[in-house]
């Protein structure tokens, strides 16, 4: 199992970084967050077509690039650094991983190439974004095979061209797909704290579906693990960028005749944050290295999401605080990351949830 990124992986990172540097600026993010779809078609096409980034982690046999969690993590870290706005997380990560982990063979053959090529943007409809145990309790398939129920928050639900749904039924959980034009389906945009990641409410009333695969509790937990690690990478990228920019600011900002970065109260806070970041980042990247080598430990994905949730939040709070008044203005970009941090902190489980899940994986049964 590797301990550090290889030269090839570092090179891959700089390719991704250069592309996003040009195509994912904060002024673009500010424009896109005012639109309904929240993304730029041209950038998406370039990203999926020329670069092939969308299929980074999906198997070659199904049209993907055949890399694993390590390279996906690199892409997501770079996206998190630059607040990339677009359906990468919803379609490539959540839907891509759901199909790869949960679909039966025929449906993998049908769906994965479309997702991997970026030709179709697919949203994954989950009725619980807090805990894996809650999935499939609100969205239910009736004995007649029709889907009903509400998913209150679906990432990119409005702009997606197709929906995947994990729903319960008398015989257990399953993965289904639903056409955007299906009867009984209504999608309403919701106001999100982080407007760079669009949310919508999705309601089904006796909607026809197509079965994609049976979902065992083990497979669903694995999916949740992978999605949590992927999100953690995106968050680490954002946290690292935010800390770098904040420290750069403290070196320039002069008060009382000296840069505020020379003041111990500020230095010490930055040193503490660097420690938090180093631990969270080392752990996140380690988990992807171990997943790629098939040597992962069961409690590690939750360990990582718990650390990263706290870390990104703490850095975001300090990023505003250390900028003082200017940091609280709309014009300053810091709040864009602050908003992303707040939403990512709770998406796919809070730190508290993941700590409990981690202890259970370590052998401590449910808390009494």
């Amino acid at each position: 199992m590797q301990t550090l990124y290889t030269d090839d992986q570092n090179q891959f990172r700089s390719v991704v970084s250069r592309f996003l540097e040009a195509h994912a600026t904060t002024s673009q993010a500010r424009e896109l967050q005012e639109t309904a779809s929240g993304f730029d078609q041209a950038v998406w096409h370039q990203m999926s077509g020329e670069l092939g980034l969308v299929g980074t982690h999906l198997p070659e046999a199904y049209g993907g690039f055949g890399f694993g969690m390590i390279e996906l993590g690199i892409v997501l870290e770079e996206m998190g650094r630059r607040l990339y706005c677009g359906p990468f997380f919803s379609s490539a990560v959540l839907s891509g991983l759901a199909v790869a982990e949960l679909a039966d063979e025929a449906n993998k053959i049908e769906l994965l190439p479309k997702i991997a090529s970026g030709e179709e943007r697919v949203a994954l409809v989950l009725d619980d974004l807090n805990q894996v145990e809650g999935i499939g309790h609100q969205l239910m398939i009736s004995d007649q095979g029709l889907l009903s129920g509400t998913a209150p928050m679906v990432i990119d639900g409005l702009s997606a061209q197709r929906l995947l749904v994990i729903a319960g039924s008398a015989t257990g959980l399953g993965l289904y797909q639903v056409d955007k034009g299906a009867q009984g389906l209504s999608i309403t945009p919701r106001v999100s704290v982080d407007q760079t990641r669009k949310l919508a409410e999705v309601v089904f009333v006796d909607t026809a579906t197509q079965f994609v695969g049976r979902v065992s509790p083990e497979a669903l937990n694995r999916f949740w693990d992978l999605a949590s690690v992927a999100l953690s990478h995106e968050m680490i990228g954002g946290a690292e960028r935010l800390l770098e920019d904040t420290i750069a600011y403290t070196k320039l900002r002069v008060q009382f005749g000296r840069p505020i970065g020379s003041v111990q109260a500020i230095k010490h806070r930055c040193a503490d944050l660097l420690l938090t970041l180093e631990f969270a980042k080392a752990a996140t990247q380690h988990v992807s290295f171990s997943l790629a080598a098939g040597e992962e430990e069961k409690h590690h994905p939750s360990m990582v999401k718990a650390m990263v949730s706290d870390c990104y939040r703490d850095i975001a709070i300090a990023a505003i605080q250390l900028r003082g008044g200017i940091g609280f203005t709309w014009e300053n970009d810091t709040h864009l990351w602050f908003r992303r941090a707040k939403c990512s902190e709770v998406l796919l489980g809070t730190a508290g949830y993941h700590r409990e899940r981690m202890i259970q994986s370590l052998g401590g049964q449910d808390a009494a």
Binding site: A271, E278, A283
Partner: protein
């Protein structure tokens, strides 16, 4: 020398020179004479100029043969490496062999009651009278000073220059009337350190290390050796086998004395290794609040390990990336120790009031709870580590100094 030749040579030496009936000193004198006591040292000074890889082979043979090597532990190594780096030819010949044989124990006399984090603010007075230096002042936190024969001493020889330029570095004989050693009892009841009072204590001018005024630069060498944990590789390391014979009996006594100050060190790290088993044994594992705090602890301990492995790997690869310095690891150890103590307290509940052999883990937990405050102070406080991280890793600007100009004029403790 090829590695296989080294192996053969060490084996042959042991066959010819070693006997368990020798006194420890007599055996080590043979080691020193043959260059096997400190093979990483230069040939001119009792060594063989060996690389770390070559030293490793020597150590392996000693280990495999169950044979005792040179005296290793405690502050004597700091003294030895510093003398080797900065001493005169005469000083090296006078002091190094008896450090290696264990005949002389050493202690470090750096910290003072008035200068802890600010080591360069030492105000122990060194006044020259002809060929002798007269020392007056007080030192503190001196491990093993109570049975030391010599000390490495930093004292102020010039009060009219800036603080870092007025220090000199001395080798002082501890067995003299002007040196008084008192054990310093810590808050956890152990007395691992001493206070040392210097009252007209005398040091021969021959025992000035380096030049007058070079004390700070030389002390920096000692401190960096202390931090590196002797990265150059140690000489043959101790064995842990029960073998009878005079040499082994004397060696066991030496080890017991050398290790005595450190018995509580694992406890100051918070004993996170005992958390899970205690939580299970006591049923605390069923408490959802304790589970949260345990999880926070395990996140820290696992991440610290992963991060340390990464730093080690990057060093090996010699990347040009800036590495978070050792200070980050030290700061992490403090955070871990405090969280572990917090969790142990939660697990114990009211029983955390108890101490002694009847209390949890035969007293280890109580000792942990009152030893953890040391970890964020010893070897550089957390606050100093944070300054280092901010300035050297993050490149943040230094704070304006209040201690430039002649030392005489700088504010200091009375």
């Amino acid at each position: 020398m090829q590695l296989s030749e080294i192996k053969a040579a060490v084996n042959q030496f042991i066959d010819e020179a070693f006997s368990p009936d020798l006194s420890l000193v007599a055996w080590r004198q043979r080691l020193v004479a043959a260059g096997w006591a400190a093979p990483m040292w230069p040939k001119a000074y009792f060594g063989r100029d060996f690389s770390p890889a070559q030293v490793a082979v020597v150590n392996e043979v000693f280990q495999a043969r169950g044979v005792v090597g040179a005296a290793q532990l405690g502050p004597r190594r700091l003294a030895a490496e510093t003398i080797l780096a900065h001493g005169s030819d005469a000083q090296k010949h006078r002091y190094l062999p008896k450090i290696l044989t264990g005949e002389h124990a050493w202690c470090q006399l750096f910290s003072e009651p008035g200068s802890g984090s600010d080591l360069a603010g030492a105000s122990t007075k060194a006044e020259r009278q002809g060929d002798v230096w007269i020392m007056n002042g007080q030192k503190v936190w001196n491990t093993s000073a109570h049975h030391a024969d010599f000390g490495i001493l930093v004292a102020r020889s010039d009060w009219d220059v800036p603080k870092h330029q007025g220090l000199s570095y001395f080798l002082i004989n501890m067995r003299q009337p002007g040196v008084q050693v008192r054990p310093l009892r810590q808050m956890n009841g152990h007395a691992s350190f001493n206070e040392v009072f210097l009252t007209d204590a005398r040091v021969d001018h021959n025992d000035l290390l380096g030049q007058e005024g070079e004390g700070w630069a030389i002390a920096t060498t000692t401190l960096s050796i202390e931090r590196q944990g002797f990265a150059r590789g140690r000489g043959p390391t101790p064995i842990h086998r029960e073998i009878t014979g005079r040499v082994f009996e004397e060696y066991a006594k030496e080890i017991a004395i050398d290790n005595e100050p450190y018995t509580w060190y694992p406890q100051r790290e918070g004993r996170p290794d005992l958390v899970l088993q205690r939580a299970e044994a006591t049923g605390a594992i069923n408490d959802p609040v304790i589970r949260q705090e345990m999880a926070k602890l395990f996140c820290l301990t696992e991440a610290a390990k992963i991060s340390a492995n990464r730093v080690a790997a990057e060093r090996t690869r010699a990347d040009n990336q800036v590495l978070p310095a050792g200070s980050l690891g030290k700061l992490g150890a403090s955070v871990i120790a405090r969280q572990a103590a917090h969790v142990h307290t939660m697990i114990s509940g009211a029983e955390a009031m108890l101490s002694g052999p009847e209390s949890a883990e035969a007293g280890l937990i109580a000792e942990t709870l009152i030893s953890v405050p040391a970890i964020s102070i010893a070897g550089g406080t957390d606050e100093i580590q944070k300054n280092i991280i901010a300035e050297r890793v993050l490149g943040m600007p230094k704070e304006q100094r209040m201690d430039t100009g002649p030392f005489r004029d700088i504010a200091r403790n009375n």
